[in-house]
Symmetry: C2
DNA sequence: TTGTAGGCGTTATCAA
DNA sequence: TTGATAACGCCTACAA
């Protein structure tokens, strides 16, 4: 008990005893067992973050901002990768919850099995906040960019440039019906009386909704190739994210076509690479840092209050960044 | 005890009891406490990975490959970000070890305080493997790219192209003396009888060896600006990594100079962006996936054997990828 | 100022 | 086939 007092620095210990203890601690290279400590105290001051695609700078910026916000409050961060597979999601949730993290931030793509497990977890009073994941539960907060408006503005930008045959890359109309970016695209077309052509909405070739670890860039590449083989290919493309757009750009170059002259393209996220590639990529910038910070603050509130808090939702503004890939001249 | 048997699926339980238990488990939404379980069993089947710069695709590829290798063996992965600060390093080690991970893979930049703490940890029999971190201990394995040879070949490539005033960006001669990539650069110059000019070796402006979270791209930018203001600026640059190189490229463009015509540049890592920017970046490709896999296998060996294993070191070959930034014509 | 008892939720071991 | 007991290492509460 005296050792405990010395090590944790709480409670009264005489100076002389303290020094004796510290010496022995050093001699034995003693370190207290955090497992036992957490078991007794019932909290760990640790938060888990589940990331779907860690290769995407979007995820890493998010992670950095989450970490920073946590550290300022004395919390630790454990990141788990799920590779956006439902099995992997569950493994991540499971492993975090079994280590008794105080709360979990989820930033993976939704999927049914994952949602089910998550719901279960929430029922056992684990504080959860979702970022950019379509997950609805009365005790789970949601932070996300304004995908609907972002998708709308990206598409309107292309319409304003005179395009009429505009494709969407990154989801199918059926499986992606919940996808707000796709919805924004559809809305923009409809509000300009442009018919939605399902052949111009191109996701993955075969329906493998649950395979982990694929590259979104490759999906963009494949999807674009299919679009180019259409009898009447699109003159513009809106891609669900920048990597998908970059994959599509590769397919366009491979086909000997020029961007934006033959095909204009717009992405989503504004990852650092978007400004650097050639041609530079027009995209919708999403405030990753802010998303991470707000989500973390919400989670910490839940953790600290210890109570169930009813669902809050924060939708954050995005900004259209016009660059060369949609036709503007290079400025920097 | 019977519940324990049912939940863990070990030991004999009659079918009828098992079903009764499972029903109650479901009704109460019971989930066993991993903390208590780990406390009793003395292992967690979890490995920690400490990453210095999670924004660097090098780190994320590493992480993915580590995760994949672990998952195949039934282990979980917790990633901690240290932002390459020594305090942050220690916090990460501390938080992983206090959660009793079974082993730790360290992929952060070396620093004295971190090394000290790590050494301490190793003394308490925590299995540790380092990736690309200059850390020597009789019970710690090291996996790294062949930085010496890579640096040598990058520099020789520039020499072969006729350059004589070749700069190194990303470290100072004093603080970076242990940096193998810099050493390779020096060796290449010396083996071609080119004098090493200390003014051409440019790291961070002020010595802030311990500040976390800075961007390596910005360091490249700043360092290049300083080089350009020299009375006799370099005609070629070897940067310690691709982000640093990309920052330097920005400084070169900003100064109205052309790459590679006015200044040639070579990076290190071969991150995806290197092939995509304009001009495309000549660089030294390092086998991140292989590094992650080998390191993980080494760590698992340590964990499973339970014994101290004496230090092993694996140095992996790199490959020079010649692209436009050093003068080759664009091929793809 | 220090020490004792008990319990956090499991599982290994032995007993029934 | 099931149950009782002890122990993992710590901390809260109370006693000395």
């Amino acid at each position: 008990m005296t050792v405990s007092r010395v090590v944790s620095g709480e409670g009264y210990v005489s100076e002389i005893t303290r020094e004796k203890v510290l010496k022995v601690v050093k001699d034995l290279n003693y370190r207290r067992n955090g497992l036992a400590r957490s078991l007794k105290r019932q909290f760990t001051e640790t938060v888990g973050l589940v990331l779907g695609d860690i290769s995407n700078p979007y995820s890493t910026e998010l992670a950095r901002s989450v970490r920073k916000t946590l550290v300022d409050e004395g919390f630790n961060l454990f990141i788990c990768i799920s590779e956006n597979g439902s099995k992997e999601d569950i493994v991540a949730f499971e492993s975090l919850s079994s280590h008794s993290v105080d709360g979990i931030i989820v930033a993976t793509r939704s999927n049914e099995a994952g949602d089910r497990y998550l719901r279960n977890l929430v029922e056992t009073n684990v504080p959860v906040v979702a970022i950019g994941r379509d997950f609805r539960h009365k005790n789970v907060d949601l932070v996300s960019p304004d995908n609907l408006k972002g998708g709308f503005e990206a598409t309107r930008h292309l319409i304003d440039l005179g395009h009429r045959r505009i494709a969407f890359i990154g989801a199918n109309l059926s499986s992606g019906s919940h996808l707000k970016r796709l919805q924004g695209y559809v809305n923009a077309l409809e509000s300009h009386s442009i018919p939605v052509d399902e052949r111009l909405i191109s996701g993955r070739s075969d329906e493998l909704p649950d395979v982990a670890g694929y590259s979104t860039e490759d999906i963009g590449f494949e999807a674009m190739k299919r679009l180019l083989s259409l009898p009447n290919p699109p003159t513009a493309v809106f891609a669900r994210n920048d990597f998908t757009a970059i994959g599509a750009m590769r397919a366009i170059s491979d086909a000997g076509l020029r961007i934006p002259d033959d095909i204009a393209i717009v992405g989503f996220d504004d990852i650092p690479m978007a400004a650097r590639i050639s041609p530079s990529l027009t995209t919708v910038r999403q405030p990753m840092r802010v998303e991470g910070q707000i989500a973390t603050e919400m989670l910490l509130e839940r953790i600290k209050s210890g109570k169930r808090i009813s669902r809050r939702e924060r939708v954050l503004d995005c900004e259209l960044i016009v660059r060369e890939s949609s036709g503007s001249k290079r400025t920097n």
